[in-house]
Symmetry: C2
Subunit: 444 residues, 2 copies
């Protein structure tokens, strides 16, 4: 893609209304544009990143056997009255009257809707477990939307729901999502820590928040540092292995604000391992048993002939928020350098030719390189503008493609100035460059 033809409206300076670095960067390089308070349009650069995150989330849901569906954004108030949450939910719920004066709402979450779908579709334990998910826009009418897409009103979320015949089976489903979340965030190059959390308006008594550390986070967290050294690399999608994995994590104290107990914290965590800091919630999982199935009458026939209410959990990942969370984690705002994980970068590589009015040879060379990269499924952005070299570099450092090739007049032979952001420049052949990027892509 030629930068001059792409819809990437870049600002010279940080917009003054943006207080945190993800909001600054996203406005600065034209990833998003505000439509109204807490509501944004996603321009090509932002859209590409969000779409890649969505695909990774989707792949990891599919890997644990979850099936994708899509529920509508507008729901009837009837099902919320059945569950008893219509009044409870408060003003964050965007309530709507349609032309027939029916009470509708823009879904902030989908426990009621999915329970309604389940109860009218399946009747037997033989069809269980069922793991269903969708990726859809949601709306929460925040009183003070802020921090760009981090706390917006219209936001994109993956929410999944599990249906099981017993608590024991339901914990197995819960643990599958626990694992898929660890894997998802790892592929996004984020260290997300599962923390015991409050269940809030969703309900239930088992819940984990997945939190990444960031000064700008709104969650206060209390952990045993050693939890950061854990991983799920050896965990298999099998009951015992999953149980061991969860135990391993739960061995270390790690809670959010609402669950914090000072006395306990100081008792179980030695002083040198204590970490009290801030983080960004990127995922949240809940087990609430028959809270909704009982209220809404979603039961299944059991093997012996009896009936029981189906046991449910729900599992959310903030897809649009993750775009901001990755920036908060990766953007060096002092030096104005962003490096996207290759798995979600808007472009794999930036080609920066030095162009003079009377000499387009560097641009021609860039186009030749572009074509060769395309053949290898490497997505490049060429800066074909006539700006001076240093402002080109500055711009590309903000856009954040993880690799760059600088094409000056000197680049005559077969070697090019190649750079991975944050590392030294090397002189490499195009074949070698393609090899490095392809190798990195396979790791994602």
């Amino acid at each position: 893609m030629l930068l001059s033809k792409s819809f990437v409206p870049i600002l010279k300076n940080n917009p003054s209304e943006a207080k945190i670095k993800s909001h600054q960067l996203m406005l600065r390089v034209g990833m998003i544009k505000q439509a109204s308070a807490g509501i944004y349009s996603w321009l090509p650069l932002g859209f590409k990143v969000m779409k890649k995150i969505e695909d990774i989330v989707r792949q990891e849901q599919n890997k644990i056997g979850a099936q994708e569906i899509l529920m509508p954004t507008i729901q009837s108030s009837d099902i919320w009255k059945e569950s008893g949450r219509y009044e409870d939910y408060g003003e964050e719920m965007l309530r709507i009257k349609d032309r027939q004066n029916r009470e509708m709402l823009y879904g902030p979450t989908n426990e009621e809707q999915i329970t309604e779908i389940f109860r009218s579709s399946l009747k037997s334990y033989k069809s269980l477990p069922q793991l269903l998910y969708h990726i859809q826009w949601k709306f929460r009418d925040e009183i003070r939307p802020r921090f760009g897409i981090m706390r917006g009103r219209e936001f994109y979320m993956k929410d999944a729901y599990s249906f099981d015949v017993s608590d024991e089976q339901a914990f197995y489903s819960y643990n599958k999502f626990f694992l898929s979340y660890l894997r998802t965030f790892k592929r996004l190059e984020l260290t997300a820590i599962p923390m015991a959390a409050d269940t809030g308006p969703i309900g239930g008594n088992l819940s984990h928040e997945f939190v990444i550390l960031a000064d700008t986070g709104e969650s206060k967290i209390f952990t045993d540092k050693r939890i950061f050294d854990l991983n799920s690399n050896d965990t298999e999608l099998e009951k015992n292995s999953l149980q061991l994995m969860r135990k391993k994590y739960e061995n270390y104290y790690s809670v959010t604000d609402e669950k914090f107990n000072k006395e306990e914290f100081e008792k179980v965590v030695s002083e040198k391992n204590r970490l009290i800091t801030k983080g960004i919630e990127v995922g949240h999982i809940f087990y609430f048993g028959d809270k909704y199935s009982k209220a809404m009458g979603a039961s299944v026939d059991l093997p012996g002939g009896k009936k029981d209410f189906v046991k449910m959990g729900s599992y959310g990942i903030g897809v649009s928020r993750l775009v901001g969370a990755i920036i908060e984690a990766k953007y060096d705002d002092k030096n104005e350098i962003m490096k996207w994980p290759l798995s979600v970068a808007p472009y794999d590589i930036a080609l920066i030719p030095m162009i003079n009015k009377n000499d387009t040879s560097a641009l021609d060379k860039a186009i030749t390189i572009y074509n060769e990269l395309s053949k290898n499924n490497i997505d490049a952005l060429i800066d074909d503008t006539e700006e001076n070299f240093s402002s080109k570099i500055k711009k590309m450092n903000l856009i954040g493609a993880p690799y760059q090739i600088i094409i000056g007049k000197k680049s005559d032979g077969d070697l090019f100035e190649f750079k991975e952001i944050g590392k030294e420049t090397k002189n490499l052949s195009l074949i070698k460059i393609v090899e490095i990027i392809k190798k990195q892509k396979i790791l994602n």
Copy 2:
């Protein structure tokens, strides 16, 4: 996928509330589930089809150089007041007040929103042309939603917008979309005819509807039959070639109701070539010049130093509606046999083993075949239930995977009963079957 584990709630009989065959079939095989009047959830089978249609639409938009963005579903009323459409749009617009009592609305279309994005982003003719599109949920508060997802309230649509410096350039953009629409519908195995159409609430004086023939269609159409023999196979993405293509189509009389003139029709179309019938609108393109850019002040600097309002067009495809339109075109409701185009089929092939309580050898064989197909990226659905054979066939004929393999006890050797829906059964080796399907997939 095993049918017993998949979320495919099949009904024994046609639901009585459904009047047209797409609505009947979609409820019957659990592709959708009504959430409230004119609002549907998409279950796995329906979701898969819609997603594949979306991907084809996306690919064809990208091929003409359109860039993908994503605008929000909720818009501010301010921009609609600027364009003058806020009052005009009538009750089909779902108007919303947020908790701060601001007037918002659920977007029924996005001319205002995109014009606002453009005017605050680009200022020079040098950035033109720009073709931007998004695929997003929209809402029209129909007084009488009906026919399932064909005339629902919440619907999924691709809408694109073009920005050009002159009428001449804008017609070039218009023709690019014209071609991409012909190509898109062809890949969906639909014969969609472009018809001169009214511009309605969008405005402008040049417009084409793309219509497929169907008795259940709500558009009345008047054409010269010979237009059905045209194609765009030789058209290239180049100004003159595109102009010739459009001329070729416009040579034949082809209009919708509002544009119909009896006298002219009978004058230019000989009696034997006249066709008066019904159709389903699946796409609609508009050229409206500076209607919105003037009202909202979206101008660009021209080469000479002057400014002018940017020339715009808009281009819609009903993605969710296409699921129904394909069923209307392909479903044999007398014999209850659906055959999806392979390009959008929920599964490529159905495996139908004959299973007895005491003998699972056919199921084992089905699983072996499944694994071999998976390796070749062929997506199969196994009916692992213990229903009798004829009801299994009946079910799979409704689900509509275009190919079937029947696995009885007799299937001992290397040959399997293979069938393309609507054709004769053949005894073929698995290698041969894989070859046939892969060959067909490449054609899409």
